[in-house]
């Protein structure tokens, strides 16, 4: 792909699929919700590619993923749903198995669990900053909030994580 070319959806999925999925997983906290979020992101990305201006692809993808996450969060708050008992697609779709899940997620499990315990607004900015690597200005623009709010939420998020992880990682927790 030359500079200035708009990539195809297939190229985006091939080159940035892991990135999209990682951001979705860190935001949503589990594979089922991450799968749903990625599905929504893919729809938005495909539509957005037509008007995409070549630039930071990962920043663009992170913005779409975070906005989709926020939309879903708002929707759930407005309309809490009751999970259905039979969810065969949840079992069949990934076919990953417990061992795979364990191997993939056990090491940072405590961090992920603590991350998930953060309020949505704090988790989003922490993920955007520390997982995606966005600047405060980029995060503020994406979420339409003040840079000062971004700064405050990031620090409060990290502080809350520090407290939560202190028992598991005393050498890294509160000192």
């Amino acid at each position: 792909m030359t500079s200035g070319d708009v990539p195809s959806w297939e190229a985006v999925a091939h080159e940035h699929g892991r990135f999209i999925y990682t951001v979705a997983y860190r935001l949503s906290g589990n594979r089922a919700d991450a799968d749903d979020l990625v599905q929504e992101v893919m729809v938005r990305v495909q539509r957005g590619l037509a008007t995409y201006t070549p630039g930071s692809m990962q920043g663009w993808l992170a913005r779409i993923t975070t906005n989709a996450f926020y939309d879903e969060t708002r929707r759930r708050k407005r309309r809490p749903t009751i999970p259905l008992p039979d969810e065969p697609d949840r079992v069949i779709a990934g076919s990953l198995g417990a061992d795979y899940e364990h191997a993939q997620t056990n090491l940072p499990e405590h961090v992920q669990t603590a991350l998930l315990a953060l309020p949505d607004d704090r988790r989003a900015v922490v993920v955007m900053c520390d997982v995606v690597g966005m600047t405060y200005d980029e995060i503020a623009a994406t979420l339409d909030i003040a840079v000062g709010t971004v700064r405050s939420r990031i620090h409060r998020g990290r502080t809350q994580l520090r407290t939560a992880l202190a028992a598991d990682y005393p050498e890294r927790g509160d000192k």
């Binding site: 929504e40 893919m42 729809v43 939309d71 309309r79 990934g94 922490v126 339409d144 405050s152």
Partner: protein, 246 residues
């Protein structure tokens, strides 16, 4: 003490003056310096989190290429189990709905107050190309089964759009139902100020209003869209079926 400067310092987000001021404070206060170190450790831990391998196959066939029909996520599929049960009867309605949802660009939601009076007038007068609305072409086919009306569903008879508002009209015999869709989230407060009452439909919030002419108006939200249904009171069951199926 404004400790969020510590994170900003680690992230390189302080101005030169702020950074110098903070470093002076850190040199003078070992406890403050220890807090910086602890914050830095958490920051490193987060940044060292591994990439997560996607669920196998999730990127393979997510979207019907060159089509407005998309494979919505598992959560949506779970919420729409009734679609599967009555697929034959409402398949065309589902296709239309996917088309409508396809218009939405996916940006942050805006609060929407549906133009209820205009929608009622359009419905009551069976208006077509009026108020800036244009006919939607091609109108999706509606191959409804012969007994479709028995479960409260009806064939679509016309489709219109104006900007990002869609107006679909369904009809069976002397009965008709108008469904308006626009992207955003409902401004429930503003709707409440004009009367009516908050209710539920298909176990989700719904605003219900009856005009002085006895026309039923129901506003619901579905998939980041505000849906306004307008019909005669005897069509309430059809509205409920529509709300449950969307």
């Amino acid at each position: 003490m404004n400790n969020d400067r510590l994170s900003a310092y680690l992230d390189g987000e302080l101005t030169d003056d702020e950074r110098r001021q903070l470093e002076t404070e850190l040199d003078a206060d070992p406890q403050f310096a220890a807090e910086l170190e602890a914050t830095a450790s958490i920051r490193t831990m987060l940044r060292d989190l591994p990439m997560v391998e996607p669920t196998p196959g999730i990127f393979d066939l997510p979207i019907a290429q060159n089509s407005n029909v998309v494979n919505l996520g598992a959560a949506r599929k779970r919420r729409r189990t009734k679609w599967a049960a009555t697929a034959a009867g409402v398949a065309s309605m589902a296709a239309v709905w996917m088309l409508i949802l396809g218009v939405f660009s996916g940006t942050s939601l805006s609060r929407v107050l549906p133009a209820v009076d205009q929608y009622v007038d359009r419905h009551a007068a069976a208006q077509e190309i009026a108020d800036g609305f244009e006919i939607m072409e091609p109108m999706p086919k509606t191959d409804m089964p012969a007994d479709a009306a028995n479960d409260g569903t009806m064939p679509m008879t016309a489709a219109f759009h104006k900007d990002d508002v869609m107006h679909l009209r369904y009809g069976a015999g002397d009965h008709s139902l108008s469904v308006y869709s626009e992207p955003g989230e409902a401004d429930w407060d503003a709707l409440g100020e004009r009367g009516g009452e908050m209710d539920t439909m298909a176990n989700e919030p719904a605003w219900h209003y009856v005009t002085t002419d006895g026309i039923d108006v129901v506003v619901i939200e579905r998939d980041d869209h505000v849906i306004t249904m307008v019909a005669a009171p005897e069509m309430h069951e059809a509205m409920e079926t529509m709300a449950a199926d969307l």
